[in-house]
């Protein structure tokens, strides 16, 4: 019995370890797609710990694999623990940078002064953006069109049937069924919720009376944990509608609604249309802090206004000397043309050139 048990433990342990191993660079997305000249490696290598937003987890996987495949001796780990946890770990000094999809609060920025030496503080580096798509499950209806007020009323349970006149008016050609709408929202605190509700509050203030928040404030509907939880519910329930990052909708074959922004033609959530929205964002951070503010009420054609921007949080001054070269090299690569270009294939919107240039300058100036 004992040797058998031992063998079982060993076998199980081996399987478990294999499942967790992230060192294997072959076969993972984007691992060896770049030639070494695209990446300027940090001399000496080392280990870079980081954590945070799960919205950028897929992009980070590609970036980390590419960097590690091309730079021997460097190890970068990114744990997708969620923005809140990532910022906490950064403020406790355990990670070199954090990923977050909501800007830091004033209190958090103040707290960062104790982690950053030399009078430094945490700054935001926008690194990628992604369209937040409105996925729905309505057999027989393709290319559903919604506008901000209708979207707000649906998610606030004021419009609760698919054949509601408000929806029918936007979709004159669609055969809308007599079916209740089940709106799904995130049950966990989430940057996706914050950005989606910020859009509703800005674009349809009459229909959306709630404050933008990471926690869902709307009335009614059902909730689920994480974007994957929402997508699962949409797939399972006819008549369901939910907001998720575009990549989740694409990967699961969920139909996404087009948005009538008032520009004449409805805009589909796509990498290009989201990129245009980021292009119109203004930098509202001060002293080199690159916090962006989106214009949710943009009416220009081909601009998809519901966009999630993910920032990397680093100290502008007083980063640890041991991790500074690697931080600069890695973030320099993620902000580079090549690093940004490859995001489009996995449903992330690359930064506009002008902004990417600013980010690269900022990365080069880290100390």
């Amino acid at each position: 019995m004992k040797p058998l048990l031992g063998a079982a433990v060993l076998a199980f342990g081996a399987v478990a370890l294999t499942a967790c191993g992230s060192d294997d660079n072959s076969g993972l997305p984007g691992a060896v797609r770049f030639s070494p000249k695209d990446i300027r490696c940090a001399s000496g290598g080392g280990t870079l710990l980081s954590s945070g937003s799960s919205a950028q987890a897929n992009a980070m996987e590609v970036w980390v694999n590419s960097y590690q495949a091309n730079c021997d001796g460097s190890r970068v780990t990114y744990k997708a623990t969620g923005s809140g946890a990532g910022v906490q770990e950064f403020l406790q000094g355990t990670t070199a940078f954090a990923g977050t999809d909501a800007p830091l609060t004033d209190a958090e920025t103040a707290a960062s002064r104790s982690v950053c030496a030399d009078g430094g503080r945490a700054v935001h580096l926008p690194m990628l953006a992604g369209p937040i798509a409105v996925g729905y499950n309505l057999p027989g209806v393709d290319g559903l069109v919604l506008d901000a007020p209708t979207l707000a009323r649906i998610f606030d349970s004021a419009v609760d049937r698919w054949d509601d006149p408000a929806i029918a008016r936007l979709n004159p050609d669609a055969d809308l069924p007599d079916l209740p709408i089940t709106p799904f929202h995130r049950s966990d605190g989430s940057g996706t919720t914050a950005n989606f509700t910020a859009y509703l509050a800005a674009a349809a203030p009459d229909a959306w009376p709630h404050e933008p928040d990471k926690t869902w404030r709307g009335r009614g509907g059902q909730s689920a944990d994480g974007s994957s939880g929402l997508i699962g519910q949409v797939q399972q329930n006819e008549g369901a509608i939910a907001y998720v990052e575009l990549s989740h909708a694409h990967r699961n074959g969920v139909a996404t609604a087009r948005l009538d922004t008032g520009a004449g033609r409805p805009v589909a959530p796509r990498v290009e249309t989201a990129s245009r929205a980021v292009d119109r964002a203004r930098v509202t951070g001060e002293d080199g802090d690159l916090v962006l503010t989106l214009d949710h009420t943009a009416r220009s054609p081909g601009v998809y206004p519901i966009v999630l921007i993910t920032y990397e949080i680093v100290c502008d001054r007083g980063n640890r000397p041991s991790t500074l070269p690697l931080t600069r090299a890695f973030l320099g690569y993620t902000a580079s043309d090549q690093g940004q270009r490859d995001l489009a294939g996995i449903d992330y919107a690359p930064l506009p050139d002008r902004l990417a240039e600013q980010v690269r300058e900022r990365v080069a100036g880290l100390s």
Binding site: V87, T182, S187, G189, D213, T215, Q222, Q233, Q236, A240
Partner: protein
């Protein structure tokens, strides 16, 4: 017979046994003290962090229907969590305990021996299924199939308000309770079964000899003997139901409000809320979750204490005291 008596009777092994006793006594005492220290440390940690959180709470910790602990200022309260935890666990108990007792009685007193053993294994095997598997089964298989039965309940009992249902996906406290019932079934069944099995044969045979039917035998001799055991078994099940996390998180549609109806979506439980809020929680958010965890800890203590009292009071009626 105490250890000292025994050692006196075997003088040859005297010193060896003495040393063994001393070592064993030391080990046992050490383990006991360690346990107390660990428990005290956990309680102190929870208490300190909780006090920090509750002091900053802008809402009322006991009555606020909201969980926004990361906000500035933080606003959170455990009313919804307490309600959801208690209700889903009570639903689970109401559904599971009678079934478990039925199964246990069947296995010990009705089933042919050839059937009893494999059936017992089968029930015990249910306990080996990880809770996340129950959660996935619940979300993917159970929930879609509950809409029909729930609509039926609404049609006949909807007027009570407690069983009203509007046909949205059936991800409610009732569903969570149903799933919890399946999950606590094995532990309640197997403990009850063992207790029934130990019911003394003498009174049973006597009752049979007096012409009692099998049900009368069970009612007059087995059930009174097993009463405290059944309570203990239920409490073990309740303990699992109170703290269950992943299964509840997968089948519930969490929401910070209390529905009059058990069948409508919404509600949350302590464990589920901790699991789903933790990843986006800041330092205040974590402390708030810890405070909610402390309340769950107290709730569990309370339930166990109440069960002890109940058993102690009933002990004199049951065979357990004999």
């Amino acid at each position: 017979m105490s250890a000292r008596d025994r050692s006196r009777r075997a003088p040859g092994h005297r010193s060896a046994e003495r040393r063994g006793d001393r070592v064993f006594r030391g080990l046992s005492r050490g383990s006991g003290v360690t346990l107390l220290v660990v428990m005290a440390a956990i309680a102190a940690f929870l208490a300190v962090r909780s006090v920090i959180a509750v002091r900053h709470d802008e809402g009322n910790f006991l009555t606020t229907f909201e969980w926004d602990a990361n906000a500035d200022p933080p606003v959170f309260g455990i009313a919804v969590l307490l309600f959801g935890t208690v209700v889903s666990s009570v639903v689970a108990m109401v559904l599971a305990v009678p079934v478990a007792i039925g199964i246990a009685l069947f296995l010990t007193h009705y089933a042919p021996r050839r059937l009893a053993a494999p059936l017992s294994y089968l029930v015990d095997l249910l306990a080996a299924v990880p809770s996340i598997v129950y959660g996935l089964w619940g979300a993917l298989y159970l929930v879609p199939r509950l809409t029909g039965p729930y609509l039926w309940l609404d049609q006949w009992f909807g007027w009570t308000g407690v069983l009203a249902y509007d046909g949205t996906p059936a991800r409610s406290l009732m569903t969570a309770g149903l799933l919890l019932a399946v999950m606590i079934l094995p532990i309640v069944t197997s403990v009850t079964r063992e207790v029934f099995r130990q019911a003394p044969a003498g009174p049973q045979e006597a009752a049979l000899a007096l012409g009692a039917t099998r049900w009368e035998v069970i009612r007059m001799t087995v059930l009174p003997f097993a009463r405290s055991g059944m309570i203990s078994a239920s409490m073990l099940g309740l303990g699992r139901a109170l703290g269950e996390t992943m299964a509840v998180a997968t089948v519930l549609s969490p929401g910070f409000f209390i529905e009059a109806s058990l069948l409508e979506s919404g509600g949350a439980t302590f464990a589920q809320n901790i699991a789903s809020q933790f990843k986006e929680a800041g330092s205040m958010g974590r402390d708030a979750l810890i405070a909610s965890g402390l309340v769950l800890f107290l709730l569990t203590l309370l339930v166990n204490g109440a069960a002890r009292l109940l058993i102690a009071r009933r002990a004199e009626y049951s065979g357990a005291a004999a």
